[in-house]
């Protein structure tokens, strides 16, 4: 039963992530990206910005720790150098200003389908780190964030999970929930980023019933800040939790390949996100990280010992004779015998 189920899940969840990343139909007003030192959320932000550019969504980048304006961003607010009120005002005015400007869509109206028009009016507000905000404004964080969200503006915010929530030991908010808990509650979609290298290494260990390795800060080695394989160049693993309007949650693991310049150049976005299970390195269970596919064991023989995918499928598809006898139980002993053409039936033999 597994293959059709997976097929269904694949189509369904790939559509969902494509909808989320393209910010279609205001599918997720508040997207929270939880990243760590082992895997930064930057590639995911870049992917969002790239798609926003492709579909003419205005992007406003509110920086709390970024020095230079990323290339793909339309408007840049350096919130770190300003007071809370100042940048709040600036962001507000930017979101307002552009919604009025956008009401008269310029030429090209003929070519875009109707649903694209709604997207055109949209804006994507990106916060590069909520940590400092959570530390200073933990009490009114929900109100502050929801004041930015509107039907046309969706919010994408990063939170570094390594940094421990409680920074102040003040008495007054001893009973308040931790900022991360609040944010997780507020968010409509949560992406947790993982390093592909680490995910593969953990899977390899799991399959051999070894203890799963830990990386970076979890290693607990003096002087180690990041593990080897952190922030790898060959893609990011995303753990998604999306809450539908009905309240039902969808969880899925995806693999986001590194953004290559060719897809940017061609413009039209072909979906490049795949399920983690479909990632070639993740799928092949016997190909471990360290040894290449053609390992030592295979090299010793001149003939092929393994099975190809088709051979294995064919083999699984073979229905063994008397298969139904294994299912039917409880009838006691029963002899199933088909007469062959060369068998000659001897009536007397039964009577002996």
């Amino acid at each position: 039963m597994a293959p059709p189920n997976l097929q269904h899940r694949r189509t369904h969840n790939l559509l969902l992530i494509s909808k989320l990343l393209n910010q279609r139909d205001a599918s997720s007003p508040f997207t929270l990206v939880l990243d760590s030192l082992e895997q930064s959320g930057r590639p995911l932000l870049a992917e969002y910005l790239r798609r926003a550019n492709a579909s003419n969504v205005k992007t406003i980048f509110v920086s709390f720790e970024t020095l230079r304006k990323p290339r793909a961003v339309d408007l840049f607010v350096s919130a770190w150098s300003q007071s809370l009120q100042a940048w709040q005002k600036e962001v507000m005015s930017l979101t307002k200003a552009h919604s009025s400007q956008r009401e008269h869509p310029p030429f090209r109206t003929m070519r875009v389908p109707p649903d694209m028009l709604i997207v055109q009016a949209g804006k994507l507000l990106v916060f590069d780190s909520l940590n400092s905000l959570a530390a200073t404004e933990s009490a009114n964080l929900p109100a502050l964030l929801s004041s930015f969200i509107s039907p046309t503006t969706s919010l994408l915010a990063v939170y570094h999970t390594d940094i421990h929530g409680r920074s102040s030991h003040s008495q007054e908010n001893a009973y308040a929930p931790a900022p991360l808990t609040l944010l997780k509650y507020l968010a409509t979609t949560i992406f947790t980023t993982h390093s592909l290298h680490h995910v593969l290494a953990r899977k390899a260990a799991r399959e051999r019933s070894h203890v799963e390795p830990s990386f970076g800060l979890e290693e607990g080695i003096e002087g180690v800040l990041q593990g080897l394989g952190a922030n790898g160049t060959n893609g990011v693993v995303l753990e998604m939790e999306h809450r539908r309007k009905s309240g039902r949650g969808v969880r899925e693991w995806y693999s986001l390949p590194p953004s290559d310049s060719t897809s940017v150049a061609t413009g039209k976005t072909r979906e490049n996100v795949i399920l983690l299970e479909d990632h070639p390195d993740y799928r092949s269970s016997d190909a471990t990280l360290a040894e290449p596919p053609g390992g030592e064991a295979e090299a010793q023989y001149t003939f092929e010992l393994g099975l190809t995918e088709k051979q294995r499928q064919d083999r699984e598809g073979v229905v063994l004779p008397y298969f139904d006898a294994q299912k039917g139980g409880g009838e006691g002993g029963r002899i199933l015998y088909d007469m062959g053409s060369e068998d000659d039936f001897d009536e007397e033999e039964d009577e002996i």
């Binding site: 390594d162 080695i221 003096e222 990041q226 953004s259």
Partner: protein, 288 residues
């Protein structure tokens, strides 16, 4: 400048002049301090660059502002001469190097230290900027001392760093990454307890800077203890900002300084008595 090539060849790609607006984090532990690495960074930045000199005379001029919360000028004078063959006095005269001793500066006024400090550092940067035409590299050695002396919070310190970083070409930051200073992170085994304020601020500061860094070079002691022919382990990992630079490279491939992709590595190193450093793979001979 020394005639000998004092930069170990495996480290060469990392020690080049960093791309603009980048941050590089060097971390050490109590038993293993990255002074040799800092010295080589300074030497590499100040070294005459053959690749650019021919194309653009002005762009090749670089200067270093070294701000230390740990060592004084006499120490660095000695170390830079021993480790990298640099003559500080001459460089100061050429207005290519400036040293700020925050160890003693800090002692004078604790309360108003931060604003005072920022102004002092900015003044020094501006002075050098005129002669180096903008290519100033700021080296901050152990500014986390400010957290330890309770003169600032992690948030304020990172804002101060952002302000300083916006004035220079790139920044090299040295921090202590001992286990107790990182215990207040989410990944650590004991994260349910209440942490002391110092644990919280240092962990918050360090992890934030690591997520902003282009790459992190951390030195630590050998897991198996002290050894005669190995000083420690050097690990280079890609920080959170490694992706930003990669994106830029795709667009402007002509930029010479930033064309190197950051590769992670781990190697052993040995600081010899004469100040030379050998960097070698695990399992290979150190050449002694």
């Amino acid at each position: 400048m020394s005639t000998r090539n004092r930069i170990p060849s495996p480290l060469e790609p990392y020690l080049r002049l960093p791309p603009e607006a980048s941050l590089i984090l060097l971390t050490g532990t109590l038993g293993c301090i990255p002074v040799w690495l800092t010295a080589r960074f300074i030497a590499s930045v100040l070294a005459p660059r053959q690749d650019v000199a021919s194309s653009d005379e002005k762009g090749s001029a670089t200067a270093v502002v070294l701000v230390s919360w740990m060592q004084d000028l006499a120490f660095w004078k000695k170390e830079l001469r021993r480790m990298a063959g640099l003559d500080i006095t001459k460089l100061v005269e050429q207005r290519r190097f400036s040293f700020l001793d925050c160890l003693s500066l800090h002692g004078i006024s604790v309360s108003s230290a931060l604003e005072q400090l920022e102004k002092t550092i900015c003044d020094v940067i501006e002075q050098l900027k005129n002669s180096a035409l903008g290519n100033v590299v700021l080296v901050l050695e152990y500014p986390d001392t400010l957290l330890a002396t309770n003169s600032t919070t992690a948030h304020e310190l990172s804002i101060l760093l952002l302000r300083l970083r916006s004035r220079v070409r790139s920044t090299v930051l040295t921090c202590a990454a001992d286990l107790p200073l990182l215990s207040a992170t989410q990944g650590s085994p004991r994260n349910s307890h209440a942490f002391s304020p110092l644990e919280t601020v240092t962990a918050a500061f360090l992890t934030q800077q690591a997520s902003l860094a282009r790459f992190v070079m951390s030195v630590r002691e050998l897991d198996t203890g002290a050894a005669k022919d190995i000083s420690g382990v050097l690990r280079v990992t890609r920080g959170g900002a490694a992706y930003d630079v990669d994106d830029e490279e795709q667009d402007s491939s002509s930029e010479v300084a930033s064309e190197v992709d950051v590769r992670e590595m781990e190697a052993l190193y040995l600081v010899q008595r004469d100040g030379n450093v050998k960097v070698f793979e695990r399992g290979t001979e150190s050449g002694l």
